[in-house]
Structure formats: structure tokens, C-alpha cells
């Protein structure tokens, strides 16, 4: 079953001059798949991922997630969709620095409002246990190391049990041991929970360990 399909995606940048970053990108992702996107720096991987994430709406072509066409929907509808169905892990771990680890993980669930605060807290603990960060729940997130922050970011991405978790070089800033940890978590959630993973990565080991690799070059997919 396809959980995401992108067809004929074209994207241009107009600054400093008109330039086509993505050229007729077509691909599909199945439920529970662990997909890696690789390619040289500057080939358009991040740009593609931001389109898939629904945050970038300025593109040609169509994007469908969970059988729902997302192209052309208003920003606030997309925000609500992201909240419920998509999780993100960025390269620079991006936590809210003033909030505690627990609060960071709980926020998207509080926004979704599907569970009571108590249930959300329990779920947050569960996710933090999964990424091995339970003992740090009350710490302010800015006081954590890079690897720890990345694991908290993964817990946050998982809190609403999203269909797809996307990562833009989630291990790009981590050492070998931490990279291994993140890989294991991704592997586990895709195989045990049936959640789909799409990550951009530069790490060949990481890519080789995933279910499928898409390779890009100069804005095109050159290998499925």
C-alpha cells in the first residue's frame, strides 16, 4: 500500500537567478518502508524533503499522503495534517530551548488535543523510554548534548504516532555511536510499528541498512 506518492515534481528557485532544483521527480513509498535518499551535496535532497513535508508549497506536480492529495491545500490545513500524520527530525536537532525535554515531546500532542494531558505525559514517557532518554525528562532541552537532543527530537516526532517520519540528515551531526542508536530506533519503529521512514542521509552505512535507497543527482532521481 502506497503511503506517499510524488508525481512530476518540479521546483524552481528565482534567487539569485531562475534555476530548476527539481526536475520531474516521481516516486512512491510503501507503508512501513525505511527509505533513504542519497546524493551529492546541493543536488536537491533537502528541497525535495521540504516539499514532501508539506512545509514548502511552492512547486509544480502533485503530492499525496495517505491517499489524500495535499497539493494546493491552505497552510493551516497542512499544519494540522503535519501535526497528526508527519514527524520530523532535522540535522540540527531543533528543540525549543526554554522548554524541558518532556514539554518538547508533549507539545505536538497537546496541539493535537486527542488525549488528556495525563495520557499525553504517559505517552511522552513511553517515547522517551524508546529513545533511552527517560532519565532526562525534567532537564531543560538546551542543557543536553547533540546526540541526546537528536533522540529527544525523535521522541517528539513519534508522539502523535505519525504515518511517516521524515529526517534531513538526522545523523549528520552525530558520532558513530549516536548514529547507530538513531538508526536502530528508526529500524525498530518501521519494522515493529509499521511506520514509514524517509530520511536524507550522507552516511553510506545508514543508507545501506535501510530498506530502499533513492539516489539523486542534479535535481533528478537517478536510481530507485
Amino acid at each position: 500500500m502506497n503511503v506517499l506518492s510524488a508525481s512530476h515534481i518540479n521546483k524552481y528557485f528565482f534567487e539569485p537567478e531562475k534555476f530548476q532544483v527539481l526536475q520531474d521527480v516521481n516516486f512512491e513509498v510503501k507503508k512501513g518502508e525505511f527509505l533513504s535518499i542519497i546524493g551529492k551535496s546541493g543536488c536537491g535532497k533537502s528541497t525535495l524533503l521540504y516539499i514532501l513535508s508539506t512545509m514548502d508549497t511552492d512547486y509544480e506536480g502533485t503530492l499525496e499522503v495517505n491517499g489524500q492529495r495535499l497539493t494546493g491545500l491552505p497552510q493551516d490545513t497542512l499544519a494540522a495534517f503535519r501535526n497528526e500524520h508527519l514527524g520530523f527530525v532535522f540535522q540540527f536537532h531543533f528543540l525549543l530551548p526554554e522548554f524541558t525535554v518532556l514539554q518538547n515531546v508533549m507539545l505536538p500532542a497537546l496541539k493535537l488535543g486527542k488525549y488528556s494531558n495525563k495520557e499525553i505525559e504517559e505517552r511522552a514517557y513511553e517515547k522517551l523510554r524508546l529513545v533511552n532518554m527517560v532519565e532526562h525528562t525534567r532537564k531543560q532541552s538546551s542543557k543536553l548534548s547533540g546526540g541526546q537532543q537528536q533522540r529527544v527530537a525523535i521522541a517528539r516526532a513519534l508522539i502523535n504516532d505519525p504515518t511517516i517520519i521524515m529526517g534531513d540528515e538526522p545523523t549528520g551531526n552525530l558520532d558513530k555511536a549516536n548514529s547507530g542508536l538513531v538508526f536502530d530506533i528508526f529500524r525498530q519503529i518501521s519494522h515493529e510499528n509499521g511506520q514509514t521512514i524517509i530520511t536524507v542521509t550522507h552516511d553510506p552505512d545508514f543508507a545501506n541498512g535501510s530498506d530502499r535507497i533513492i539516489e539523486m543527482s542534479d535535481g533528478r532521481i537517478i536510481r530507485h
Partner: protein, 418 residues
């Protein structure tokens, strides 16, 4: 949109930057405090001036206007368009400022709606002699109980009493400054002469002070019959009727009504005290302008700080949006910060404003002997405080809205790309 959640985030942001929050708050606090002090003090001054004018003057005064311009007999008999009559140096007719049927009028007006009190008077110019000194002034013959009801005479007495006028037909109560000039005290004798030549020797039974120079310098009170006697008039002779209303504002229309009903001249306090009313208007405008300026300055302070806040929080905004917060959530997070700053700063401003106003209201103020003012005049009214808080919160909402809007429009991709 989840307001409780937005509030939690706003609160965390504010607490994380305590110093910045405090600075923004103090801007509002200062603005509101000054607003409260300004308005309480200015309105206090207005009230004081109005009170002192109204206290000592009637709301409506009935009198007979002595008009020396009368048409000549020639004009009355032989006027035509084709000819011009020339009469040189026509002498004014002998005319008395007597109000016809004054006593009946007093009784009628007293029963009318909205009338607090009516007091008949006989007034005359007078010269006061004490030995070789002669000073001009005015003499008012009053019916003490009625006049007291209008002007609260008993509270103006410095020594002696007004009551003595009732028992002592040759008694006189003299204005404080006039007494000083004449060098008389209670018990002393003063000789009074009218321009028509009447003369009486009266005994000072009291000295009063209104705190208004134009009155304390020249006025003295005695009984109606004494003035009638010195003028050589009968017991129905009255020159003035003073009226006080329950509401001073009613006086303006009431004067017109009386004019129509009795065919007499009236003057209301508004006409008699135009300078005070104009001054009040000017002070109101000034208060308004300064208050608005203070609030605008506070508003700019908040605007700047909120703008800085949004710029410092670009990453956080991008994360919130990436994880599914909509633009209304982002607006509410930042607008709530502005509102919290506005409300807390505003309430603190009200407290400080009240404190300063109170301190001002008990600060001794030496206005000299003339004015009956012991401390700065300050008015305390809930209205001003509600107004201050409302304006303060509106200003902060306006000042916070534009940065919040900007925050909501931020493109998360541009930020997350790094």
C-alpha cells in the same frame, strides 16, 4: 487553536527572558501611572476651580438690569425713515435696580423642581469708614438662614458668627481682607456710607473668608432690613435673587425658563465664569494629549521588544509550525505575551498611579491665604482607573499584533534550512 497551550508557551517565553519582560512591563507601568496621576490631578484642579466658583456664586442670579440707553422721547413720537432725530446729552432716567414683586417670586421659585434654595438680597455699593480710612466695597443684605443654605456661610467664618446678624440688627460680617484693611475686629464699629448719602454705624459681629480675593476684599454681609434702612427703601425692596439648583448643569436652562416666565434678567454661572469653563476645556485637551503621548510611547516600547522577541524566536516559530502549529496559534503565542505584559504592567501602573495620586493629595500645598487649598487637589475615580487599564491593554494589543502577525507569516523552510 488551543489558547491554554498558547498561554503556556507564551508564559514560558516570558519567564525565560525575565529582564526583557520586566523592561517591557515597566514601559507600560510608567505610561499608565503617569496617565492616572495626570488625569486625577487635572480633574482635581478642574473640580476645585469649578467648586470654588460655584460655591461662592449662584447658579442663577435674578437682577434688574439698569439700562441707561433709552430711546429719546423724540424718537418715540416722531420716527420716520426719511428724517434723523438728534438729541444731545440725554440724561438717564431715575431707575432703581429693584426687582418687582421679589418676595412673591422667591416663594414661587422655591417650590419649583430642581431648586435647592433661593435667597433674596439687597445689595449696594458702600464706603466703609473707620476713623480717617475710607474704603469702597459692597454690602449685601441677606436673609441669613436662606443665604447660609446656599453658600454654607457658617463654614466660611473666621471669627464671630453669622448668626449674630439675626439678633443684632446693627451687626455686620466683614470679608477678611476688608477687615484687615479697615483694621477692625469682632466688636469694633464701622461706619458705612452709600453713594446716595445714607449713613449708618454698624458693629462687626463676624469676619469671613471665602478664599476668593474678589469677595474677601470688598464684601460685607448684614441683614436685609439694615440695607433697606440705609438706602431708605421699603421692606419689599430687593435687588438680587440667588438660586442654587440640585444639579448645576440644570441652571443654564432654568435661567431661560425664569426669564420667559417672569420677564426678568437672569445670569447663570456658566456665563459668569466663562474663563473657568474655557480653562477646564484646555486642561482636558492637555490631559488627553499628554496621556495619549505617554501610552503611544509605551506602545512603541512594547512594539520594539515584541519585534526583537520574534526575531530571537525565529527557530522556535519554525519548529512550532513544522510540528503542526497553525498561524493563529503563533499569533496567539506572541499576542498573549503582549497582553500579559500589558495587563501586569497596567495593573502595576494603576497601583503606582494611585500611590502617587494619594501622596499628592496629602502633600501640603501653600496656596496663600486667598485660596482655601491645603493640599493638591486630586480626584479619585474608578472610572479613570478602568480607562487607564483599557487604554493600556488596547495599546499593548495593537503594539503586539503587528510583530505577532509577522511571526505567523514566517516561512519555516527558510529557517530550518539553516
Amino acid at each position: 487553536m488551543n489558547l491554554k497551550l498558547s498561554f503556556q508557551i507564551a508564559q514560558t517565553h516570558l519567564l525565560a527572558k525575565k529582564r526583557q519582560t520586566l523592561v517591557a512591563m515597566l514601559g507600560v507601568t510608567f505610561g499608565i501611572a503617569m496617565f492616572i496621576v495626570m488625569i486625577s490631578f487635572m480633574q482635581g484642579v478642574n473640580q476645585f476651580l469649578e467648586d470654588s466658583a460655584l460655591d461662592a456664586s449662584p447658579h442663577v442670579r435674578i437682577y434688574n438690569e439698569v439700562n441707561t440707553q433709552r430711546p429719546s422721547i423724540l424718537d418715540q413720537n416722531r420716527s420716520s425713515d426719511s428724517s434723523v432725530n438728534v438729541v444731545y446729552h440725554q440724561k438717564p432716567k431715575q431707575q432703581l435696580p429693584r426687582i418687582k414683586n421679589g418676595l412673591q417670586m422667591v416663594r414661587l421659585i422655591e417650590k419649583m423642581k430642581g431648586v435647592l434654595g433661593v435667597s433674596p438680597e439687597v445689595s449696594s455699593q458702600a464706603f466703609f469708614n473707620n476713623g480717617p480710612i475710607q474704603i469702597s466695597g459692597s454690602m449685601a443684605g441677606i436673609d441669613y438662614p436662606r443665604e447660609n443654605r446656599l453658600y454654607n456661610l457658617d463654614s466660611r467664618i473666621k471669627s464671630g458668627s453669622f448668626q449674630a446678624l439675626l439678633t443684632n440688627p446693627k451687626g455686620i460680617v466683614v470679608g477678611a481682607n476688608l477687615a484687615k484693611k479697615l483694621n477692625v475686629n469682632v466688636g469694633d464699629k464701622v461706619s458705612v456710607t452709600t453713594p446716595m448719602g445714607g449713613n449708618l454705624t454698624l458693629r462687626v459681629v463676624g469676619i469671613f473668608g471665602f478664599g476668593i480675593g474678589t469677595i474677601d476684599n470688598i464684601r460685607c454681609y448684614t441683614s436685609i432690613s439694615t440695607v433697606q434702612e440705609i438706602l431708605g427703601k421699603d421692606a419689599s425692596y430687593l435687588t438680587d435673587i440667588h438660586i442654587k439648583m440640585t444639579d448645576p448643569l440644570l441652571a443654564l436652562d432654568f435661567g431661560q425658563t425664569l426669564q420667559k416666565q417672569f420677564g426678568i434678567h437672569t445670569e447663570d454661572w456658566g456665563t459668569a465664569n466663562q474663563a473657568i469653563l474655557a480653562g477646564k476645556k484646555i486642561r482636558n485637551v492637555m490631559t488627553f494629549v499628554i496621556s495619549i503621548t505617554l501610552l503611544v510611547v509605551a506602545g512603541f516600547g512594547i512594539y520594539n521588544i515584541m519585534n526583537m522577541n520574534v526575531i530571537n524566536k525565529l527557530k522556535d516559530i519554525a519548529i512550532l509550525k513544522a510540528t503542526g502549529f497553525g498561524s493563529s496559534d503563533v499569533v496567539s503565542v506572541f499576542l498573549l505575551q503582549a497582553i500579559i505584559i500589558g495587563v501586569l504592567g497596567g495593573v502595576l501602573g494603576l497601583l503606582i498611579g494611585f500611590g502617587i495620586s494619594y501622596a499628592l493629595s496629602i502633600t501640603p500645598f501653600d496656596a496663600g491665604d486667598m485660596l482655601s487649598l491645603k493640599t493638591f487637589p486630586v480626584i479619585f475615580k474608578t472610572e479613570y482607573y478602568l480607562m487607564g487599564l483599557t487604554f493600556g491593554v488596547i495599546t499593548t494589543i495593537l503594539a503586539g499584533y503587528f510583530p505577532s502577525r509577522k511571526a505567523a507569516k514566517i516561512d519555516p523552510v527558510a529557517i530550518l534550512r539553516g
